[in-house]
Symmetry: D2
Subunit: 345 residues, 4 copies
């Protein structure tokens, strides 16, 4: 099957990240078209991505016959029109949050998609793909905590850009916890209360930061969220679910930590090297592929340990096996590297 040809609309920080991601780390897809309201920026991006064009009008980009699917990283206010165009052309679209900037137009989009009878729109709540959230969800689905009862969340950013106001803390930051709540608890949020403690005196003037949000779900579960967007400290998101049969917390720098009715705390050990080093294998191969593709230019076809490292390992292991037999220290015998490679490499 040929690669999916994607149009990325908006190539600011988030959109540019997506272009780099699709180009360098995603199998089965390539960026065929980019668009930005700053035409020059789009041209610059297109110039460095093989086989990629810039198109000046976002709706043209969506309609382009050589575009199979769309990534929307444009400002929120433009989403409605662009999403409708995607639906009209039957183009699948991955839309960064928010869907649209208000409830009415969001509902309108939902209705249009429903009329088509096809789910073409995905929204960029990426936490559902994080391994810790996924692990917590799996634990809940498997009944590992029994019925969830209470959830505590913290959402902390070190800083916010200039102009970030108190309601953006709700719409841009808290919104992630809204989705986390709905995802983990599998029910809608019925009411919201936002409390405003004394603001951080060292924070941006006029900003109500931190805020405490309290959700009550349809079935009566309690969720509280500390949103603190200018801590000056670090990026930190944390979720704890307290259920009938214990509790579990993620975001503690230690993976998922669970408390059980058996009176233990802790986590799951890695069953095998595949789970432990899966990411390493992926990186190893991706970096090797990249090095080989650059090799004709560089003369170096590796990006990692080479034959000398294989030889050195063999020499040490041979000495090791000898010592295994005798129990005594054994010197490792190796030729001098320079005698093989000369001054080169």
């Amino acid at each position: 099957m040929s690669d999916l040809r994607i149009a990325v609309l908006g190539v600011g920080m988030m959109g540019a990240d997506h272009v780099a991601r699709i180009t360098s780390r995603i199998a089965g897809a390539r960026v065929a078209v980019v668009n930005d309201y700053l035409a020059e920026k789009a041209e610059q991006v297109a110039a460095v991505v093989p086989g990629c064009r810039a198109i000046g009008d976002p709706l043209d980009a969506i309609a382009d016959p050589d575009v199979d699917a769309v990534v929307l990283a444009t400002p929120g206010p433009t989403h409605e029109k662009q999403l409708l165009a995607c639906l009209e052309h039957g183009k699948p679209v991955m839309c960064e949050k928010p869907l649209t900037t208000d409830v009415e137009t969001s509902l309108e989009i939902v209705k249009r998609e429903a009329e088509l009878g096809r789910t073409l729109i995905q929204v960029g709540f990426m936490r559902r793909f994080d391994h810790e959230y996924a692990e917590l969800k799996a634990l809940l689905d498997a009944g590992g905590l029994g019925q969830p009862l209470v959830m505590h969340c913290a959402h902390r950013n070190p800083t916010v850009p200039p102009g970030f106001d108190s309601s953006m803390i709700v719409k841009d930051s808290l919104v992630h916890e809204v989705d986390v709540t709905r995802f983990l608890l599998d029910e809608e949020i019925a009411s919201v209360q936002v409390l405003c403690p004394t603001p951080n005196p060292g924070g941006p003037p006029g900003l109500q930061d931190p805020q405490i949000a309290i959700f009550r779900t349809a079935s009566g579960k309690h969720v509280d969220v500390e949103v603190f967007v200018a801590t000056g400290v670090a990026y930190e998101v944390r979720t704890e679910v307290v259920g009938e049969k214990g509790s579990a917390m993620i975001g503690l720098d230690v993976g998922l930590v669970r408390k059980t009715v058996q009176g233990t705390w802790g986590g799951q050990s890695t069953p095998s090297f595949r789970e432990r080093f899966g990411q390493a294998y992926d990186s190893e191969i991706q970096r090797w592929v990249d090095a080989v593709r650059r090799g004709a230019d560089t003369g170096v076809y590796i990006d990692g340990p080479g034959a000398w490292d294989g030889y050195a390992a063999a020499a040490v292991c041979e000495a090791g096996v000898t010592s295994l037999m005798s129990g005594r220290p054994v010197d490792v015998q190796m030729v001098d590297r320079a005698s093989v490679w000369g001054g080169g490499l």
Copy 2:
């Protein structure tokens, strides 16, 4: 640039993993050829990978003009001949450990590659690509521990396959710590001693397990390694480096933990959402691309949150902003989902 066409030689567990990896998660490459000494197995793999052929003879696969590079996942004893063929044809090769099965032939390979003057051979010591090892290496290179002095390693597997003997613990397991030592300390190992404590009575009969290996490096640093391959517990690798200015440990289920001369223990917080959720973004996009590519068949073009989730988030946030103003609980207003989507989806 067109995709790198790779021949994967050997499609047992490790080779099959590499085929799946290159096909589904690696950008810029595809598996063009597979080979296995069990011809039928290679045929089966080729049948499910788009654009992939099986070739019966490994040397023919290496020589094939439609192969740009080779992944070697064949048994160790065949490596020498296959690596020489790769060098002869100037094909870059990613060779699973060991390079070859003895020191002499390993050195021979090193010399042949040196004669070519190009580094074509990479060896599969994948730990160098693991983020914890990479972080520890970066800390050492930055002088964060001062001069490293002592290193402690543990390498534990839950089980080994039948037929795994005492010298394989050295050659197949300890070999990883050999490379970790050389990688982290940036010097050769000068002597090795393998100690044999009372074996685990519950382990495979006749196997000297655990073993304790002691390395002394060229400059006199001490490294000890516990290799225990049939613990019955879990997969666990751990490395602690003790240096002039503190120590650091990885493999503790908590990321890199460092002790400093300032008298603190702990780790580095995540500076931003990009580091924290980089993996989530990659997975999100990869799964979305896969869903879109399947969409013509399935009618579902998403694999994640949809428009309804975007609408629900908007409704909650709108209530949240209202509460932010009033401080009071605000009910969330949402239409009934069934009223939009009917009985479907």
Copy 3:
């Protein structure tokens, strides 16, 4: 100075604990008198504590000229009268919570003590003496987190006794967090809100459990507390303070963990063996003292390592010093234990 003669009033679980504590682990005090509304129980306790009498009337016990100070572990409703008696006789009193069972009588006690101009009454909020809370308080006082802004607490018990009702969750459990809040933030609580999520279906029928309490302090700081008294899991109390310059959490099974504006997480290492093993030294000496005091009866005057252990250590160290010189393994030379001690001991 002679030992403080203490009357312990109420020898239920908590009072009996105090009797054992004062008798076995507290220097400079002894239990001279015990009292309980079950006279027989007091007699039983008095019988096993050297130099201790039972007195039938609590007010007589307080007034007794051979009582220097009082520990009150009686039911809450009796506290008012007993505290007033202590004040009247000028006897220092350590009063288990609550001070009294309502605000009016509590204020009355405060006023009476103020009239005396001496602080005779201490209340049993023991968390202030826990090393983690003390460490957190010290960090706050030293300005390590800057101005505290938000505080999150969790208070979880595995079970509650029969008859424990919803308002007791406030008065008996939440009350600890009330004191923790006032202690750590050094200001009064201005308003309280208690939220009632869907109760744990597996909990005691009719009990509103968990409860979520929200405190707003005089200066506007936010504190939330999850009180969940029948989790079925374990005893768990946790406090996180989020301030201008970072955050710190205790109760995580890992000591105080702090996040700093330098972007690190972690804790303080132990500076010396005195901090690390202070408890061990105390236990060692207390157990040795106890063994020696029992020695005339038992013939054994130790409760710990003996002379043989000292000899064995000397033998191993002597071999170690020899090996230090030679670098080679050295056999340890020891006589056979039975040759010294025969069949005995």
Copy 4:
């Protein structure tokens, strides 16, 4: 029973600690006599301990009829003679390590005690009384790890006093791990090897630091110990036992962490407040007793929360119960503190 009258011989750092400990934190004992080869120092200590005399000759102190038991904190070379005197007078003695300074005299002491047929001598290996070591020992004794197979120890000090030489690392530091090994594994050490890696260039000149000791026990178990006494970092002792059924580590700033054959890592949760706050209760009462004893002089008979704190807690809880009924925020009603206490206290 009257208090045990103890003679503390040697009031340097360790001995002075013991005097303070027995005087302030140990029930059932008091320091009756002190001695030091610096007579003035002993006099100074005696002057501040109620009922304590200085005696100039250590053997006189041991023989004194008003001494029931002896704590030996004198220099090692004097131990032999002093221990023999204790045995001669039948006085129980708690002897700081070492027993004596060589194997021969240690054995002589063992033999003399054996001839008496009473165990009068305890040796100050205080780690056996540390709660982490005790917990690990209990886990081993309960078979929680199956048969122990391998043990890894690290013993790190930030600094050593001037004059500390390489063999003292064995005799003064490693000796603790000798006892830990014998205690945890319940068997003798059969051979020792001390390895000398490149010394820490920043350490004391001429000192072989770090050292690596390798013990082989009578039954063939392997123990390795890193002893690193001038790390410049912190005090850190760590022990990991690897057994047939999993492993357990202490000294990681997180309590005992265990890996099990069930594939989990973690620890035991605290079952109840008694385990969690036992230390807090002890400290609370000890500090209260001390305050009351000082009260006649100071006019303050508490060292902790007072009646006002009890009143404040009552006021908050009353508001809490009101909110529990209504679900709404309730203001806390309290009188002004100054209205009660005036300007005082």
